[in-house]
Subunit: 356 residues, 2 copies
DNA sequence: CTGTTAGCGCATTCAC
DNA sequence: GTGAATGCGCTAACAG
């Protein structure tokens, strides 16, 4: 048991007072070069780690953190991310942080531009971004870089930006995983239906591209000859989907497996259920409320979770610890991928109690 | 934002001093019935939640917590549980707790008795138990009940005992999950090899019984006709297993699926690999180091994780919060079940960095 | 039995 | 530039 080193100890070792040590630790200036060097040397030597729990109670500063993500409804994927963010705030209950949420319509590029413009001018210490539109996000980030405001990504990242960190699934691996799961539960070489989101305005989202690449690579590498049948699908115009689906299934009767690379799997599984189309195995994404219901009824076989709560949680936590304690951050943070089945879905009530 | 309620506030509202409130909060006695009731009433009304971070720095008391589990080697299942326990201790770094580890030989009932006897007489505030031998554990718990020492279980529980809480997988569900997974990846009605641990001395472990029941129930409910072939296997006498396995596979050539309900799956997968037995799908338990290697090489298809780190982590955390803050505890705590594949296993490095 | 008070480790303000 | 002093919310020892 090594004795914990306190600021006072460092002060004594460096031959200065506690106040000076604190000034060095927080870059507050008003310290002679000589004193600063002495203190830094000791800190280095003893590998000083401040006690965060204590810091946070005496901290007087207020922090202002903004969050921007697509709009979402209750039980949806993005809601989980926000839950995680709030959960991190609860962990640091004594730190005074006001946090502002800016949601944009992910199907309306003009709305996104408008919101991002507001954010560009918003006064804040840091920003959490759930990106959708690539160009718009890049523009926003450029402003942030210029204003020296740190930002982190959740859900996915964008190559051209330079976030402090990002928290997301490894979407390429997600694609491989989907391929691996579906091919393991349907006959060799049989048809696979693939939900093909038709996005208006924007080109296909970055996450989808990566997932598809992973999906195709897996099939190729494993010599899978399964024909891939695209099922057209609209994320924004949900009323059209009934039509798309019925059209597809009128023309295709032998589709033992269907994969959905976005979180709307339950729309398909509901369609299958309502139209009494049996014997279709499904692999879908994300533990949304409707997907949870579908998997419990056995309509979805595997659901892949990206740990959205953890993405939000760690994004906020990392940001706070960076801002307050200058804690070094890891840039790339790939979340663990959860594979859920009918049997295990009930045990995934994250953050429901005091669990992290 | 509601203003945080402090002890001082409660004191004022109850018309007493902070000292009295503290005495009530910690059951320290020396409080008149009248004062106690007044304080308790206010605490109830305002739903007072102490600030743990602050408590922990001013706390002077030392706590002594013991842990007993089977002996384990590096990278084994039980090691993860201990890692989780230590991790919880790190989170409460400023609380002075000395913790003592007692490991016993899970294949030697006499050794277990000996160790448990020592523990019965050990001076401590609480105990974490990883149970194996049923009767011995029941005896130990009776002593603990008598001595009014709270204890929690990890890995599994024992009906006859009355722990403060337990943290384990729902083993019945584990069995169902195993059945569900293996039947989904092998042809209908084909043979399933089942590793049958032969334990010396003790009757089959409780967890195994539950898992088997779940396994069989699933098959029955889903009208699976797969013949189940038992593969004899010794957990204690590992040298014999080579013999057992080769004997089994000499007599059975058509076994497309094998399930292992304990953490020794890699022994089988290694045997298959070394003897060039292909086309066998495997579902195994627990992310041990050898199992991780086997799944990465594609020799195991699904690995089920019971979150041992979390079991240990929450066991210790719950215990500390109960002891120190009298925080109410939930008795039944079923961990989430992780399904790992070759693709996702790399993202399950829990507690490796500062992630929880 | 009860109220008062001195710390716990750290951030911050205020004289020097 | 610097050290000393104060306060954060809570525990525990100490007078009464």
């Amino acid at each position: 048991m090594v004795k914990k080193i306190r600021i006072k100890d460092i002060a004594k070792m460096a031959g200065v007072s506690a106040g000076t040590v604190d000034r060095v630790l927080h870059n507050r200036g008003n310290v002679s070069d000589e004193a600063r060097k002495a203190v830094e040397k000791v800190i280095e030597e003893v590998d000083y780690k401040p006690n965060m729990h204590v810091s946070s109670i005496s901290l007087k500063r207020r922090y202002k953190i903004a969050v921007t993500t697509p709009q979402f409804s209750s039980g949806a994927y993005w809601e989980s991310i926000h839950n995680g963010i709030r959960h991190a705030l609860e962990e640091y209950e004594n730190i005074k942080v006001e946090y502002h949420v800016f949601t944009y319509n992910q199907y309306d590029i003009y709305n996104c531009r408008e919101i991002f413009k507001k954010i560009s001018q918003f006064e804040m210490d840091a920003l959490i971004i759930g990106p959708t539109f690539k160009e718009e996000t890049i523009n926003l980030c450029e402003t942030l870089n210029y204003r020296k405001i740190p930002y982190v990504f959740v859900d996915s990242t964008i190559e051209e930006c330079s976030p402090l960190a990002y928290f997301s699934a490894d979407h390429y691996i997600v694609g491989r995983l989907i391929a691996s799961l579906i091919t393991s539960i349907i006959p060799n070489g049989s048809n696979i239906g693939l939900l093909q989101a038709v996005r208006t305005g924007d080109s296909s989202a970055n996450t989808t591209i990566l997932r598809k690449r992973g999906f195709n690579d897996f099939l190729k590498e494993n010599n899978c000859t399964n024909p891939i049948l695209n099922i057209p699908f609209s994320v924004s115009e949900t009323k059209d989907n009934e039509k798309h689906l019925s059209h597809f299934f009128k023309n295709h009767h032998n589709v033992p497996g269907i994969v959905v690379m976005n979180s709307r799997g339950s729309i398909v599984s509901d369609y299958l259920f309502n139209n009494k189309i049996d014997n279709v195995r499904m692999v879908c994404m994300d533990l949304t409320t409707p997907n949870a219901a579908a998997i419990k009824k056995g309509q979805i076989n595997f659901l892949i979770g990206q740990g959205p709560e953890y993405q939000g949680f760690y994004a906020m936590k990392t940001l706070l610890e960076y801002l307050i304690f200058k804690k070094p951050v890891k840039v790339v943070n790939h979340m663990q991928l959860d594979i859920l089945t009918r049997e295990t879905v009930d045990y995934y009530k994250r953050f429901s109690n005091t669990l992290y």
